[in-house]
């Protein structure tokens, strides 16, 4: 079982993050949503809030999302699209 997974966070005009992470915490409509490796297939829309990324080195990275967004989890590959960040 893999312990980390690939995350790509894109906004309209920028790539905000691209790399492997240990865990992910995102603001979904009904509260924060945690994603670990080997998560099931998931699509969710996101609201504004703090996106927290734990890198493989246990370093934390926080991205403030100010608008809507979408999250897709598929086979240890996560892509996040944010309308404004």
């Amino acid at each position: 079982m893999e312990k980390d997974f690939l995350v790509t966070i894109l906004s309209r005009d920028n790539t905000l993050y691209e790399g492997r992470v240990k865990s992910l915490n995102v603001p979904a409509e009904r509260g924060y949503l945690g994603v670990l490796a080997n998560h099931d297939f998931l699509v969710s829309n996101l609201v504004s809030g703090k996106i927290t990324i734990r890198k493989p080195s246990d370093e934390l990275l926080v991205i403030n999302s100010k608008g809507k967004g979408f999250l897709e989890v598929a086979r240890n590959k996560v892509s996040m699209l944010l309308t404004s960040a």
Partner: protein, 285 residues
């Protein structure tokens, strides 16, 4: 040497001025191009990402989830949105888009196709069919703005939702690199994308209709934004290439004219010397 020295000098001066103008335009296009190009590079994966989420979600689901997905009769009421430039001096850029649009219209006939036009060049070409032009956006000069993008999106979607149009197509130039770009005709509405290949059932948070409600407007906005960016980037690239060619041609022309000027000048000096010498000879004799 039939041409007078003065006429040649005048030509040299005017060509020099033209060369200055074209090389300035070349530089302006280059900066605009690089600015738009970097936006385009980021917008492409964003639009592709949204499309892939949408197509994965659509797999094996009812399409009645959203009015934009609803199938409509085809070939009856069509809106064609063409994106051209405001100014010329960009090679065949505008002509290519207009030619594709004309092909499209001749396939269906003027009674079925209505137009939405971005850019003066497209507008002035089709202005004889003014009653067919529903909306036009003039004076953008290849500058992208979110406001225009939103307005265009609202107009196109409301035409579709109010059933004035059953199909909406986009004709624009897709940017490949500075030397090549390609005119594409794409169906914009109703949304007709192939369901994704993922055979896995997705968990959808909070629920599918809520996600669709958010995702579809964002998808449509991303498509319009991408089309405008692609078109404007291609416009600047075409202008850059056209102006570079013009500048080079002007340089060649200048070189040959300078040679000619020198020859004419030399000839006139030689002639004057001959006159003086022969006059002196005559006085002596």
């Amino acid at each position: 040497m039939l041409q007078s020295l003065k006429a040649i000098k005048n030509r040299i001066r005017s060509i020099e001025n033209t060369r200055k103008v074209t090389s300035a335009m070349q530089m302006i296009s280059a900066t605009k191009l690089s600015r738009l190009d970097s936006r385009l590079v980021h917008n492409r994966p964003f639009a592709r990402g949204i499309e892939s989420i949408l197509s994965n979600l659509l797999l094996g689901r009812q399409v009645s989830l959203n009015p934009f997905l609803e199938p409509r009769p085809s070939g009856e009421r069509i809106v064609l949105c063409l994106i051209t430039a405001d100014n010329g001096l960009c090679g065949v850029y505008n002509n290519n888009v207009i030619r594709q649009a004309e092909d499209f219209i001749s396939r269906y006939g003027w009674d079925k196709v209505k137009l939405v036009i971005v850019g003066k060049k497209g507008w002035s070409y089709f202005k004889n069919y003014r009653e067919s032009i529903l909306h036009s956006y003039l004076g953008l000069s290849g500058r992208y703005s979110d406001k225009v993008c939103e307005e265009l999106l609202n107009n196109l979607t409301s035409l579709f939702l109010s059933k004035q149009a059953d199909e909406v197509y986009l004709v624009y130039t897709r940017f490949k690199n500075a030397l090549t770009n390609q005119v594409v005709v794409e169906k914009f509405l109703n949304i007709d994308i192939k369901p994704g290949e993922a055979k896995n059932e997705y968990i959808v948070e909070p629920n599918i209709s809520r996600v669709m409600q958010e995702l579809i407007p964002e998808y449509l906005a991303a498509r319009v934004r991408l089309a405008l960016l692609e078109a404007f980037t291609s416009e600047h690239a075409s202008r850059l290439v056209a102006m570079r060619t013009a500048t080079e041609n002007a340089k060649d022309l200048l070189n040959s004219l300078v040679l000619l000027r020198n020859k004419v000048r030399q000839a006139s000096i030689t002639r004057e010397i001959i006159e003086i010498v022969s006059a002196a000879e005559a006085l002596k004799g």
